[in-house]
């Protein structure tokens, strides 16, 4: 059974890599080289190697406590620990190779032993925590935001409060608000069931426009007060505020159209990650804004086409008849 799981894991990895477009793969490999080289340099001495080993084992322990397939493997495998330890060994392989190259073979052995030990950690049964309650003034239609506050409420609150506190320093406030929108990008990563999509009984374009208007309105309500005070305190940065507001508005619109361009009921949105990343970076590098605008238009059209598959029945001229 373990060899079957190993083959399955290797097939999963192969599929994951094959699905990444080549250009993105090249960029990713290039980007990963930088931390790879940094890790290699950091683990040249014993202290660095021990720190990396400790961080790695801590992360693997966290994974053991949170992995979603724990119960499945626990129930189907007589020796589930073998499957887990194989997974953690594969995940540790890059670090193990770097340690071996740096001649810290005994730390590599300790990591392997750690992987086996972590495999025996039992995952406690836990109910999904309800999280922070969303304020009542957020309308029901903004269920992504309500669910997002429940999931990330503490973090969003800290970032928003930091934006207010950060008004004491130039740029700090805007940096907090930028992180705030980065977290917001994650709340549009799940496709709702069709029943929810059809609940308002609107055709595709009206549905999309209403969603865009709703979230742009809510984000403006949140951001404008901070930006207004910032403008009063630092009037010489007026251009920055305007650029920031335009950038954030484009980004939020992109998050939404990206979601519905890739909408497939009850699934996680995996498409459009590179444009989303570009949009997030464009706040700091406005030169990317035309790229963001391009993807916004492209995904808006794709979203209208995609949503029509599910909402065509609400078009005024539609009927259940050929």
């Amino acid at each position: 059974m373990n060899s079957a799981f190993l083959r399955f894991r290797l097939r999963q990895s192969g599929k994951f890599i094959r699905e990444i477009p080549v250009i993105y793969l090249v960029v990713m490999v290039g980007l990963l080289l930088i931390p790879g080289i940094a890790l290699y340099q950091f683990t040249k001495d014993l202290k660095g190697s021990l720190i990396i080993a400790a961080i790695l084992l801590a992360l693997l322990s966290l994974l053991q406590l949170r992995r979603k397939d724990y119960r499945f493997i626990f129930l189907t495998e007589e020796n589930g620990w073998k499957v887990f330890s194989m997974d953690y060994f594969l995940l540790s392989l890059p670090i193990l190779i770097i340690l071996l190259v740096n001649s810290f073979w005994y730390i590599a052995l300790a990591i392997i032993a750690g992987c086996i030990g972590i495999s025996f950690i039992k995952q406690p049964f836990h109910r999904t925590k309800k999280g922070m309650e969303a304020p009542g003034w957020i309308p029901a239609e903004a269920f992504e935001l309500r669910a997002g506050i429940r999931q990330y409420g503490g973090l969003l609150l800290i970032l928003y409060l930091s934006a207010w506190i950060g008004l004491l320093l130039p740029f700090a406030s805007l940096a907090s608000l930028w992180f705030f929108t980065v977290v917001l990008s994650d709340i549009f990563r799940f496709s709702e069931p069709v029943q929810i999509l059809c609940a308002q009984e609107r055709p595709a374009n009206k549905f999309l426009h209403r969603k865009l208007f709703l979230y742009l309105k809510l984000s403006i309500y949140a951001i404008i007060p901070v930006c207004a005070i910032y403008m009063l305190l630092y009037p010489q940065h007026w251009w920055l505020i305007l650029t920031f507001l335009v950038g954030v508005s484009l980004n939020i619109a992109l998050f939404i159209v990206n979601k519905y361009a890739h909408y497939l009921p009850n699934t996680k949105i995996t498409g459009g990650q590179v444009p989303i990343t570009t949009a997030v970076i464009s706040i700091f590098l406005p030169v990317f804004s035309p790229v963001v605008l391009f993807f916004l238009i492209k995904y808006y059209l794709a979203a209208c086409r995609n949503l029509t598959i599910y909402l065509y029945a609400y078009n005024p001229e539609s009927a259940s008849r050929i």
Binding site: K130, G131, A140, R146, V194, Y310, A313, A319, I322
Partner: protein, 205 residues
């Protein structure tokens, strides 16, 4: 189908029950023919549809789910329904059991108060009390003049509530049975299974 009645739909797996319901709800466009309601083309706005599998948005509470659906002209007393079904509407749906999820989805279907109610396997996952409540709800919907179409693999749940049961086979309604003929339909369905499967089962187990 006669309006103001409860219609059952039975058939083997793959017979076309869910395909028919999805076509009624305009999830699938029919390849030919038309679907009419009151001598005009049927619109999705006329139908409330409960699917067999029920999904919800992550980290959404039951109450938030229900708030997404506009209430019909008679209103909708969420708290009263909550008491009837013992649903923890202020908890997130991740913590709901299968039966709770079915009940919540059912409430989402009842709230808009549509003239046609289509329920695909509504009894799945319900406890005895809830199944009986659902039977009473179906009867009340009929009293209110609604047209109800129900599918179920548990024959007794259909015979206790339906006025007519339609048997679907390979995508075609082969026959429709009135209440007086339900016994005949049961014999037809079970005798086929009895003949083909009982010898095989004896050999396998």
């Amino acid at each position: 189908m006669e309006s103001g009645k409860i219609h059952g739909l039975v058939g083997l797996n793959g017979a076309g029950k869910t395909t028919l319901l999805n076509t009624l709800y305009a999830f699938i466009r029919p390849s030919e023919g038309s679907i009419c309601y009151n001598e005009r083309p049927l619109k999705r706005r006329d139908i409330a549809y409960l699917e067999a599998e029920n999904y919800f948005y992550p980290y959404m509470t039951g109450r938030e789910y229900l708030n997404l659906f506009p209430a019909g002209k008679n209103g909708f007393e969420t708290d009263s329904w909550q008491q009837l079904f013992h649903l923890p509407l202020d908890d997130i749906t991740e913590n709901y059991s299968t039966g709770m999820r079915k009940k919540l989805a059912l409430l989402g279907v009842l709230k808009p108060d549509k003239p046609i109610v289509v329920l695909d396997e509504p009894f799945n996952g319900l406890d005895l009390e809830s199944a009986h409540i659902l039977t009473l709800i179906l009867q009340q919907l009929r009293e209110g003049g609604k047209t109800v179409l129900v599918t179920s693999h548990v024959f007794e749940t259909l015979t206790s509530s339906c006025d007519q049961i339609h048997h679907i086979d390979h995508g075609i309604i082969s026959h429709s049975y009135s209440r007086e003929q339900f016994g005949m339909l049961q014999k037809l369905l079970y005798s086929t299974i009895e003949d083909q499967a009982s010898d095989q089962i004896k050999k396998l187990i």
